[in-house]
């Protein structure tokens, strides 16, 4: 529809959404400010270019979809808990994560920063100092309660840290222009391939090899394209990193991160083995958040080893892959949730 009509509709939908009790407080404030900014544009016809109104309508529609997704009760809360911790380690502890449940099989990051747009384009809107960085991530609704299958979210978070905040890949291009997309240098391909390598490495820091195991499952035979390196190339970079071997791509990003005074890429997860607990249909009890991250790789191996080897860990009278899948995901989800609950309880009961 026309931008001003859409803006009005989006404002109405956001007001309705803001009555939801599912939001954290700052998302309520964020939504209120988006609505106020829209109202400001609607109350001041002719002040902003038609192109800006159109962009704003597009941005607002997107924000509304993601915020609506975050109130759907289908958010993968336990994975988001881990993603928030990961952001804190990258000096982005103040950022909020909103998830949009998609119908397809693809995870994605919405690269636009709505608040950045408002600050730059809706210049006369007075936000009274409010600012919130929001990571908007798309999750297939099939995987809402499947944390093991949500490991690609760490890759998407890597994109957010890179494209959305720090321009790490852009910085790396200033250090070395032709490294990954040979032969036949193409600046755009080089840039796109590096984005993927960085996000892969970022994910591997937290969820280990499961990050590329997921990639192999989704696109095992994928050859290099304009936008993506081949899966073989991507796996090789991650495996070198996890093994502690030197690799020019890893070294390049470490140099870029150093220049930006950001944390280096390093393994965060602690290796654990969920097998003894999961074989007894019990939750795993991580001792620290690093072990929570370690669970993803272990649970991934557990699940697919059980399927590939036709294991029947719980001596089910009728063994089905579907039961192995659902119980492994449920035990993983509950193990993470229990860790978060214990952490919250300990924080609330310690100190004065």
């Amino acid at each position: 529809m026309r931008p001003r009509v859409d803006l009005n509709l989006v404002a109405r939908a956001l007001r309705h959404l803001n009555d939801s009790a599912y939001f954290e407080d700052r998302l309520h404030q964020f939504t209120s400010h988006i609505v106020a900014a829209i109202q400001h544009v609607l109350d001041n016809p002719g002040v902003y270019d038609a192109a800006i109104e159109e962009s704003f309508a597009r941005t607002a529609r997107s924000v509304q979809a993601y915020l609506a997704g975050s109130t759907s009760n289908e958010t993968p809360y336990e994975v988001v808990y881990c993603l928030k911790d990961a952001l804190t380690r990258w000096k982005l502890g103040g950022a909020a994560i909103v998830t949009f449940m998609t119908e397809g099989h693809n995870f994605h990051l919405q690269p636009l920063d709505p608040w950045d747009f408002i600050e730059k384009s809706i210049a006369n809107y007075d936000s009274k100092g409010f600012k919130l960085v929001v990571a908007m991530i798309g999750v297939p609704d099939l995987y809402a309660h499947k944390p093991v299958f949500c490991v690609p979210l760490f890759h998407e978070l890597g994109h957010f840290v890179d494209i959305g905040r720090y321009n790490i890949t852009v910085t790396s291009l200033a250090l070395n222009q032709n490294l990954v997309a040979a032969p036949g240098y193409n600046p755009q391909t080089e840039y796109f391939h590096r984005l993927e390598h960085f996000a892969d490495l970022f994910a591997a820091c937290f969820v280990g090899r499961s990050s590329v195991a997921a990639l192999e499952a989704i696109a095992g035979a994928a050859a290099a394209s304009q936008s993506h390196p081949s899966t073989v190339q991507r796996v090789a970079v991650v495996e070198a990193f996890l093994a502690g071997r030197n690799h020019p791509v890893v070294d390049l990003f470490q140099a870029a991160l150093k220049r930006l005074q950001l944390p280096e890429l390093k393994i965060v997860f602690e290796t654990v083995d969920v097998t003894p607990d999961f074989d007894d249909a019990r939750t795993f009890t991580p001792k620290n958040i690093e072990q929570v991250y370690g669970m993803f790789d272990s649970a991934w191996s557990y699940l697919f080893t059980a399927i590939d080897q036709n294991r029947n860990p719980w001596a089910l009278p009728v063994r089905k892959d579907a039961d192995v899948e659902s119980l492994t995901n449920d035990l993983t989800e509950k193990s993470i949730r229990n860790f978060a609950i214990r952490q919250g309880w300990n924080a609330a009961t310690s100190g004065p």
Binding site: N73, R282, T285, W314, P317, V318, D323
Partner: protein, 203 residues
């Protein structure tokens, strides 16, 4: 069938072998009473809703999925959930419980909540794995705010003279390893088909 007392409950919780009683998270050792363990309400709720169908039909063949009579909602620990008079709400314990094959459990409402009109009585089979299902009904005439994470029920444990296998028989247990509330699977009861055949052949 001796009822387990506090010292035995603690001893079982500390074991690592097949007689181990597993409960995660046990946030406060004070949950262990003289002859029971208090359990907390978890964050997920399946709330019953009215539909255009006049009744929940569990019999074949023209049945509608029981899940369609419930809607899932989620709260965080410490949030409130309002339990309305006469409404059935399916919840699950915050704790994931694994019973050894030699222990049977029953779940009853703590007296503080019984006095508010919330009554519940569930039996848990030896060898059970999962969050304990809590079928909450408010029998009073005032809505009640339940705090997620609060101790609403208690679990009594009984030692069996002979161990019992949870996974026995030819079909899988319906609720193994549930970590969130699950709707009734009464529709899966195989004898419903037999009963339906009897009904059809009756003159």
């Amino acid at each position: 069938m001796p009822l387990l007392q506090a010292h035995e409950i603690k001893r079982r919780l500390a074991l690592t072998d097949q007689d181990r009683l597993f409960l995660d998270p046990l946030l406060d050792v004070g949950q262990i009473g003289e002859v029971s363990i208090d359990l907390r309400v978890g964050p997920d709720f399946l709330v019953s809703v009215l539909t255009r169908k006049p009744a929940i039909d569990v019999s074949p063949p023209d049945r509608r999925d029981i899940a369609s009579y419930f809607r899932m909602t989620r709260r965080e620990v410490g949030d409130r959930f309002v339990l309305y008079p006469g409404q059935i709400v399916l919840a699950a314990s915050l704790e994931y419980v694994a019973l050894p094959r030699s222990l049977y459990a029953d779940i009853i409402t703590r007296s503080s909540y019984s006095r508010l009109g919330v009554h519940l009585n569930t039996m848990i089979q030896p060898g059970f794995r999962g969050c304990i299902p809590l079928e909450l009904v408010n029998h009073g005439n005032n809505p009640i705010e339940i705090v997620v994470g609060s101790r609403v029920v208690q679990m009594r444990l009984f030692d069996l003279p002979v161990s019992s296998a949870y996974q026995s028989g030819t079909t899988n247990r319906k609720y193994l390893g549930n970590v969130r509330p699950a709707v009734s699977r009464a529709q899966d009861d195989k004898d419903l088909a037999v009963l339906d055949r009897i009904r059809r052949t009756n003159p």
